[in-house]
Symmetry: C2
Subunit: 555 residues, 2 copies
């Protein structure tokens, strides 16, 4: 017989490809971190905004319904009620596109400027890979409707405060600030940007940008080769260069070498100061090393002890002296540095840094990147700096697509998963999540007694002198109580600190046994039989002392 | 010419139909409420679980990919990479289906029982309507893998604690508990359920259930008519009844009348007690009103003062005496009541209540519903009880679809939006969200000075004696500073309590002006010109006193 009727197939219990679940401490650690960040954002006057996860594809913008299924990079579907004219909907792929929609939709109701923060999942319809998920958290703060460079400075200060609030110590991070306009100025001076014909030389600029971005990997010589004729790598493959003349390449290389030049100048300055006096105060205009022409634009005496940003500004101003857009950009960086200094943020925390190139193509003015400077071991056990955990900058056409009106904006996005990984690497997240006290069940006819114990524990403060520490976390064993060993295994799996035990004998005597599971585990792990016996990790106390004795064991 | 080329159309800046955005306090109030609920769940030993928003349609279950677009009630789409065999994905429509998937997927790793809570948005592809959204929050707690009725009791206690934790006072809520098995017992006794042929009489049972659910609207007579031949409503339309005999209908009506009978019995009991002695202690077996046969099963003397649950259990036990499933159900209710009493939860908080019918078709054992008992005014200005804010119960085939193995579960879901509405109605949410202090800009060349002021405010505790109150919320005005009136309008829109002002004159004298905007608004709203002048809501203080004076104004 050809009866091919199948048995009903059971569905697979599987997270969809590229998605994941978060359990217990994975949820609470992220939440604790985001709560602390939100507290900082709130203090800076930013208001929370929670848009829906779903937007029209039209409003998301980047992806247009000109194909049958427009889910290039997004998860999209068509509304099924109104035929072919029905809207296409999609899950948001970031928190900026919804902000643009909100800024346009509510433009008559929102304050101007509008400061908002947003935290939540976004979705990308991409090929999943190791550590690459199709749903992940973003945490953004933006100021919409302010052209003032003070808005950019504020974002940088807030980012530094947020990093410290979650537990990244001063010295372990630096917020680097660059400016798209400075790069444009450098390109102009190098002759690969014509303000009257911005499209010209765009291929060359692309090669230059990519070369600059490879400084870490290729070194100065490698970058220089890519600016000229090109470069042959170890495998013998040849990468065509931008074809710049030696003079043109010099300009770019001066930009690439800015940080190193500033380092040298700072060293010279400190030597000069030390040579002349013990007084660290310094008039920049008279210092001898200022004969170096790169720093001849240093404008005036500033406060002590934090010259790096001033030096960098001066160096960049000299470099782009022939470009008006470049000078504008340097001026903005100087104002940002001054505004931040007025609030106490020096270059150890927020540093003007021309090496920040990533994202320069997207933004229109200042760009920021927060880097963690401490070292971790990578997958191969090599030391490396932790690296970037946040980035942002100024963009000036947020709502123009909707209203035709240009509205300036600036903002930052924190990489939630990366920052959380950093906190874990520093031991600042999830300090050994302790499970609940477990009240075991010796006698299933006395469930009411056990329930009363667990209730009493839960109503009790962990520390009666400090109610802010919360109440005791406790649960009753609700599995099959027959096998007592299973109950202790369960308590172990729950990472429980204390097991409460009361059999018929204890009940008759009005006592209860408390087993210190953390101490017990320590003893079991490393103790001889004698030690194990001499320190039985359990006590018997009167039932009336249940709460007090549990508190003592938790302390 | 037939040139019909259109100008590029701008996208509409609109939230998709049925979706909404949440601003400011709408976000923080909900978050504060969920944080308090999570604290209670955590204390009960429940662990957080956050699944992805996206599931395979196969795993969600209810909706199968047997049509081209299987989005009946869900938002679904097909993976676009592997042709016709590609998975259909969908947004979760509740938090229970993902729990079922997780319980099956991780069954070897999770503790048994597994207590988890989950909070987050869910999505329904339904026709949106007023107050009906296609994305909304759910807040669930479930215990998977315990058949013990103690798990149900625990959920009820936790629900009561959670309601109190968010600010619903004792007396303003009641958690009602019923049991599907009791209803089955009543049906059996009434002759509309045959344990040997459960499908028989299912049409009649449907009519009976719907009739019971209409008690509030139709009254006793209306329900009784629907149990028999049927009923003509005011419009003259006839609804066919279940066709029960008088005796059969009597059984159902005894069930429907359970609460009223218990009320009467409680009244009689209190009269009897008062007549015999001032002592409220009462031996139920000897009380004279127990001649009423409905209460003849009252088993033993219990603690004082809370007889309602005992009376209800006794009444129901009498009613279903001829049904074994019914007796089992009553027994479960009695155990729940006893376990809760052992923890101090009496019927004023958690009440055995046969009137809870909603959801009985879905659950397999105990069912719970939390009702808020205070009155609010409805849209038409009429008083009505606030009503249900949470519901749940026991279901026993959570993971069977995946593994073939029956795993018992019980849980509750809080209606987040409804509970938040209740808190607002009681004035327990969002106590007048105060905006940030606004530092205004009189002189745009002195932005660094203003930035330094706003920085100093933000670093200062609101109350130096109590750092737990947090730091001062403050922002710098970042719009165009030209028109000072606009700055004050902005501060007003931000609900700012204090505006800080320093023009060139004040700067020269080293002072700053603080404007009390809340007092100012009060004065402006209701004051005569004389009053207005006599209480100018602003002070001038030395710059060094900025923080102290702002603190004083905020206090």
């Amino acid at each position: 017989m050809a009866d091919t009727a199948k048995a009903p197939r059971r569905p697979r219990a599987e997270t969809p490809r590229g998605f994941r679940d978060y359990f217990g401490a994975e949820v609470t650690e992220r939440k604790a971190m985001l709560d602390r960040i939100a507290e900082v954002y709130h203090r800076y006057g930013f208001d929370p905004l929670e848009t829906s996860a779903v937007e029209t594809v039209e409003s998301l913008g980047k992806f247009l319904p000109d194909v049958d299924r427009p889910n290039e990079g997004v998860f999209a579907w068509q509304e099924d009620d109104t035929g072919s004219g029905a809207d296409w909907l999609a899950l948001r792929y970031d928190l900026t596109a919804p902000l643009a929609r909100v800024a346009a939709q509510y433009r008559n109701d929102l304050p101007t400027p509008y400061r908002r923060y947003a935290m939540g999942p976004v979705w990308r319809n991409e090929k999943p890979g190791p550590g690459r998920f199709r749903q992940f958290y973003q945490c953004d703060a933006d100021t919409v409707g302010s052209a003032s460079v003070a808005a950019d400075a504020e974002i940088c200060a807030m980012l530094a405060d947020a990093l410290e609030a979650v537990g990244i110590e001063r010295g372990d991070y630096v917020v680097k600030v660059n400016n798209r306009k400075v790069l444009n100025g450098v390109m102009e001076v190098a002759g690969v940007l014509d303000p009257l014909d911005p499209e010209r030389f765009s291929a060359e600029r692309g090669i230059v940008l990519r070369a600059i971005d490879k400084l870490d990997r290729l070194g100065v010589e490698g970058v220089r080769a890519l600016l000229g004729e090109g470069r042959k790598d170890e495998s013998g493959d040849f990468t065509k260069g931008a074809g710049l003349s030696g003079e043109q390449a010099d300009v770019i290389m001066q930009f690439v070498g800015a940080n190193a030049a500033v380092d040298d100048a700072l060293l010279a300055a400190s030597r000069s100061v030390n040579a002349h006096s013990k007084n660290l105060s310094l008039d920049l205009r008279t210092a001898s090393w200022l004969n170096d022409s790169n720093f001849s634009f240093l404008p005036r005496s500033k406060t002590d002890g934090d010259l790096r940003n001033d030096f960098t500004v001066s160096y960049l101003r000299n470099l782009v002296a022939e470009s008006s857009i470049g000078k504008e950009g340097v001026g903005e960086l100087e104002v940002i540095s001054d505004l931040l200094r007025a609030q106490g943020y020096e270059s150890d925390r927020i540093s003007i840094d021309p090496s920040v190139v990533r994202g320069l193509g997207y933004y229109t003015g200042p760009v920021f990147e927060a880097e963690l400077t401490f070292e971790i071991l990578d997958e191969k056990g090599r030391k490396r700096q932790f690296g970037s955990v946040a980035g942002g900058g100024r963009y000036d056409d947020l709502v123009k697509r909707f209203t035709g009106q240009t509205v300036p904006g600036t903002g930052v996005s924190i990489g939630v998963d990366r920052l959380l990984a950093a906190l874990r690497a520093k031991g600042r997240a999830g300090e050994a999540a302790v499970g609940p006290v477990v009240v075991t069940v010796m006698d299933r006819d006395r469930m009411a007694d056990y329930m009363s114990m667990v209730g009493a524990l839960r109503q009790a403060d962990i520390d009666p002198n400090d109610p802010s520490k919360g109440k005791i976390r406790a649960e009753l064993y609700l599995g099959n109580p027959k096998n007592f060993g299973n109950q202790l295994k369960y308590a172990d799996k729950r990472n429980s600190p204390v097991a409460v035990i009361q059999g018929a004998d204890e009940a008759a005597r009005g006592v209860v046994i408390l087993k210190d599971l953390i101490l017990g585990a320590k003893i079991a792990a490393g103790a001889s039989l004698e030690e194990w016996k001499s320190r039985p990790a359990q006590v018997e106390v009167p039932l009336a002392d249940l709460v007090a004795a549990t508190r003592a064991m938790l302390a």
